[in-house]
Subunit: 320 residues, 2 copies
Amino acid sequence: MYTVGVDLGGTNIAVGICDEKLNIVAKGSVPTLAARDPELIVKDMSDLVGSLAENAGIPYSEISYVGIAAPGSINSDTGVVEYSNNIQMSNFPMCEIFKKYSPIKTVYIANDANAAALGEALAGAAKGAGVALMITLGTGVGGGVIMNGKIFAGGVNYSGTELGHTVLVAGGRQCTCGRRGCWEAYSSATALSRMTKEKMTELSLKGITSLMHSMEKPDGSVSARVPFAAMKQGDPYAKEVCDEYIRYLAEGITNMINIFQPHVLCIGGGVCNEKEYLTKPLIEIVERDQYTRTNPNKAKIVTATLGNDAGIIGAASLGK
Amino acid sequence: MYTVGVDLGGTNIAVGICDEKLNIVAKGSVPTLAARDPELIVKDMSDLVGSLAENAGIPYSEISYVGIAAPGSINSDTGVVEYSNNIQMSNFPMCEIFKKYSPIKTVYIANDANAAALGEALAGAAKGAGVALMITLGTGVGGGVIMNGKIFAGGVNYSGTELGHTVLVAGGRQCTCGRRGCWEAYSSATALSRMTKEKMTELSLKGITSLMHSMEKPDGSVSARVPFAAMKQGDPYAKEVCDEYIRYLAEGITNMINIFQPHVLCIGGGVCNEKEYLTKPLIEIVERDQYTRTNPNKAKIVTATLGNDAGIIGAASLGK
């Protein structure tokens, strides 16, 4: 038997058909065209599942269920997207609508960040971990918590594990959530770009030109890859930016370890591509600072391995 | 059938026999005398259980099990106190030793803060909550997390939910755990005493005498009750201290709600005796700041109701 994972993103709908070992045996994508009626998006999701299955020679009868990873606040019990901002949906009964268009009548749904965490916990960098945490460093700082192979999405509602929206610097930088000093405002890729730009401005005012300046885009912005790229080429100012970024990241990760003591803490998102330039100094700080520093059983910190497939594989695992 | 809860504290061993509805039907205590051989402490625990049962006319055959709430890092699976500082124990097989002295051969054990959280979740202020968080404001800031009637104590070890050891003010006040800026350094009763004393010193230097000064102890120290007591009598400086304390407390509680979205967040410890003087302004800030401020389903914030019995009742529930 097979299971299907649908990862509904703001740009693309990605679908994968998985075998029982969670290998993706067929994969495809179509544009989301996020501004249209969400029912049309769901119809395209169903159509893509159908065409992929047909091309792979897999009859519907061999597909146990479809799992959907969707953005926003998702009620996994009712199958309803209670609220989503990226693709505008409000109390949208996605599972019901999927079943209207598809012969597959068993449909699960979860938040996309949580589904990606589940994917890494079942088939990726956190495979086999009883308690796994995933931290995604992208536009924001996303969080996912997996306990015994199941997503923990909160108690009184489905909007829990907003790990990036925990204040690390009371009264600090403004966060998009309305508070000041959230972890996200210091450890997202967006924050790293901003810290880099601030350092460059500070240097310019002192008449110093750093390697980072040569990596600026024509519009004056800098990507979050710039400080690491310049540091690798020996730029001491870039190293200052990276060190500061890693220090805040370590504070937040240590907080999460002190709370959950996960078997594995998995770091995903664009910034994790820096690999050991990020993780080596990070792990040093966390090992020193964590509450259980003398305990031989400690959380293992790793980088994600499934990339964009994490959401598909997590979605395809929702019924397991 | 009955169950027995033993709450092993640094000062007293408290024991309660509970009926099936978790009412304490018999209760007693003896001094811990913490400096002695821990085996002697366990023998006294067993003796007290025996004498209480005899006096209450409850034969051993009607006691299903004994649960022990003990300080430190507790391995609930093996029944071993891996490490405790208050009562010096290291890899101490408490459940085994209890069975050596007692005819009761089913014995459970958990960390005392976690047991108290379980007590409040099953029979106190958080009764019926699927996900319950307990925050204890005492010498430190203790944390307990209950999910579906079970303690969550961490994944890779049993030292999780150290909610007080999450940094709230990066680079801030020194914490006993070695880090700077932990929530505990701002929201414990100890921190409140210190903030009060600092405000009094600041006022003295300006030649201002506040009501708080008249509440100083002969040795120059102040209790954590002072700022609230002085505020209630109209002291504006005391109100400044209380406002600042509540602001940090709200930041930490908002963080925990954004992570867990518990059905109930229960505040215990000495400071919770301030009741609505604490909770009313606190809830206002949390309601405004939490990530799910617009969601109709939100965490309920309450003060603990079981007091010192929470540990006994939680311990007596460990086998349920």
